[in-house]
């Protein structure tokens, strides 16, 4: 049996009387790309936030690398890279400056980590353009650069190709596939577009109104 990197058991989130996520069991195998497919508002982002410990589940648990995320955040989070919803950066700084802050906070030892991360997403290093002046696609690329900055084992990416042009989407799919195949990363991505998920994912989970439909392997 494949080693599981993420395992959720009965994951549930309620807001008032409304279920955002209901009794979800997800199994993400090591060194695969898991695609979470669902309509807007289906509960994809909520599941990802619970995976990262940002949102507290109403019931159930999330086990990452075999441990409960809520009890082992300090140990687990540095091993994960993420992009949830829109990337959030300081608008009055350049992309490089923003990444340098996070590299420092994460204690990334490699001095060229920021340059390499920017290069992977085709953004210029030491560009003078402030984040506030970035286009939607550039913001998204910078968000992905932040996710891969510290060379994490697991990537959780919420709609990572949002805002990218067709060439950008193709490049990003290629990059994610390479990260998985050549560098051994495990990746969870979400999207509401079937073709995006189908072409890139090894496993797909379909979310409908907070409920996970039976898994399929592609």
């Amino acid at each position: 049996m494949d080693e599981l990197i993420i395992e959720t058991k009965g994951l549930t989130k309620k807001y008032g009387e409304q279920y955002a996520v209901k009794n979800v069991d997800i199994h993400v195998r090591k060194n695969t790309i898991y695609g979470l497919l669902g309509r807007n508002g289906a509960g994809k982002t909520t599941i990802m936030k619970m995976m990262l410990g940002i949102t507290k589940p109403t019931a159930g648990e999330v086990r990452i690398f075999g441990k409960d995320i809520r009890k082992n955040e300090k140990e687990i989070l540095p091993r994960i890279g993420n992009l949830i919803e829109n990337p959030g950066f300081y608008p009055n700084l350049t992309g490089t400056e923003n990444l340098k802050i996070f590299a420092e906070l994460r204690g990334v030892p490699q001095k060229d980590a920021v340059e390499k991360a920017l290069d992977l997403v085709s953004l210029p290093y030491k560009d003078k353009k402030l984040y506030v002046e970035y286009s939607l696609g550039m913001k998204q690329r910078l968000g992905i650069a932040l996710a891969i900055l510290h060379d994490p084992e697991l990537l959780i990416l919420d709609e990572p190709v949002n805002g990218l042009d067709p060439i950008g989407i193709a490049e990003m799919k290629k990059l994610l596939r390479q990260l998985c195949d050549k560098r051994g990363k495990t990746i969870v991505i979400s999207s509401h577009i079937l073709s995006e998920i189908q072409l890139i994912s090894d496993d797909i989970g379909i979310i409908d109104n907070g409920v996970l439909l039976p898994h399929c392997s592609c």
Partner: protein, 228 residues
Amino acid sequence: MLLLNRRASGSPAQLYDELYINSIGTGIQFLLPIVISILATILFFTERDNDTFKALRTVPVTSRQLVLTKITILFLSSTLFALVTHLLSMVLGSVFFSYNESPEYILITLANGIFIACGTLPLIILNVSFSRTYVFSILITVFYTVLSFFLVALSPFLPKTVFRFVPITSTTLWTAGVLGKMGKLNLEMYEANLRSAIPSTLNISIYMVVIGTVSIIIIVKLYERWES
């Protein structure tokens, strides 16, 4: 306004002292709370406005670490502002009057910077709890500062405990008391009720530590609840 309504007259050395006392009254006790409040609003709302908190949260940086860092920056900025005001007063006093710096002046300045930062923390609780805009923070701080100075003018009609429990008024009175002991300020010109409300250095230090600690705990709790 205890330290402000003073006439500029006397020898160059006295004028130097007058300038210093006015720089404390206007530059620090009146302006600094407003500056701190604006800075605090920028610091506390920047992650909310730019959606940066979730990226920090997954580093992981906890709400407590984030709040304590911001409060440290507030205290450093407050001290720096007070020191720059002091330096400016020293330079202008030396150029236009005559250098007459007392060794205690720098300590009074530093204490004012720290006390005013502590005294402004309760306002930050309001800002964080209501999650309001920059305009709200500035308005409420101006109101609080002006009210603190008005209390001094209303001294004959108010019990002295009021002065002791309003942080900026308390800081103003303590400063006046220290300057009075140094012979730089004639306390006889102030109303008896006000003179009897002057706190000792120990009293005001304990009071500010209590205000600061309680405020920081409340801000951390509010911020944790707010971010979740």
